[in-house]
Point group: C2
Chain length 146, copies 2
C-alpha cells in the first residue's frame, strides 16, 4: 500500500493542515491552536483540576501544565489552589480569556465552514462519526498498554 493511501497518514495530514490554517488566523491574537483548545474547554467548564482538564482536552497532563503556564502568562487563565487537596489546582479562565475566546469562536467557525465547503453537512456528520468510532477503538487498544 502506498503511503498516500494509509489512513494514518491521511488523518495526520488533515489534522496538521487544519491546525496550520487555523494558526494563521489566530496569529494576530497571539494564541496557538493548542492554547485555544485548552482555553475553549475552560470556557465550557471552569474550575476543573488539571488532571481532569487533561482527560477532557485529550492531552497529556504534562502538556496541560505547560499550556496552562502559557495561558497564565498571558493572563487568560489562572490556577487556584484546591483547599481540599494541596497537591492539586483548579484552572479558571479570566475575563480577558473569555473575551478573547468570544472573539475567536467566529473565526474558528468560519475556518471550519470553509474547509468543509466541498462536502455536504451530512458527509461532515458521517466524517465526524467515523473518526470518533476510530478514536474510541484506538483508545480501547491504548488501554492495553497502560
Amino acid at each position: 500500500m502506498r503511503q498516500d493511501d494509509s489512513i494514518g497518514f491521511i488523518i495526520n495530514q488533515a489534522g496538521r493542515r487544519l491546525s496550520q490554517l487555523l494558526a494563521i488566523r489566530f496569529a494576530a491574537f497571539d494564541l496557538t491552536t493548542e492554547q485555544w483548545s485548552v482555553l475553549s474547554r475552560l470556557c465550557e467548564q471552569d474550575g476543573t483540576s488539571q488532571k481532569d482538564l487533561a482527560v477532557r482536552v485529550g492531552k497529556d497532563q504534562t502538556n496541560i501544565t505547560r499550556i496552562l503556564d502559557q495561558l497564565e502568562r498571558k493572563k487568560l487563565a489562572e490556577r487556584r489552589t484546591n483547599p481540599d487537596d494541596r497537591r492539586s489546582f483548579y484552572a479558571f479562565v479570566t475575563d480577558a480569556g473569555r473575551d478573547l475566546q468570544g472573539r475567536l469562536v467566529p473565526i474558528e467557525q468560519e475556518v471550519l465552514a470553509s474547509v468543509t465547503e466541498e462536502i455536504t453537512e451530512q458527509q461532515a456528520t458521517i466524517l465526524k462519526e467515523l473518526l470518533i468510532r476510530l478514536t474510541n477503538k484506538t483508545n480501547e487498544l491504548l488501554q492495553h498498554y497502560e
Copy 2:
C-alpha cells in the same frame, strides 16, 4: 458548539491517538512514527531531493532536514550530493533501512486493521475520501497565505 463536536478537535484527536498506538508498537525498533513516514516514502521513491521529499511526505523542509539527520544517524538513510546542483542532496534509503521498513509494514497494517475493526471497509474508504477532500480544500485555502 461544544469542543467535542468540532471537526478540528476530532481530527487532531484521532491523529494523535493513532500515532501514539503506532509509536508503542514501533518503540522496540527505535523508530518514531514520523521517521517511519519519511523512511516509507524513501522506500517507495528513492533518490529524491529533500525539497521534493518534503512535498511528498507533507512536511516542512526544516522537519525533513532533521528527520533525515535522525535516519542518517541510525544508518537507515543517507544523503548523496547532487552533481548538477551543489545546494541540494538526494536522499536514499540504505539496506538496513529497507530491511527495517519491511519488518514494520506488517505491524503498521495490523495496527490500522485493528483500529478500523469497528467500521466496514466501505466506511473506511469513505472516511479516507472525505478526509482527502477536506485536506485538498485546506491546502487550497493555505495557498492564499503563501
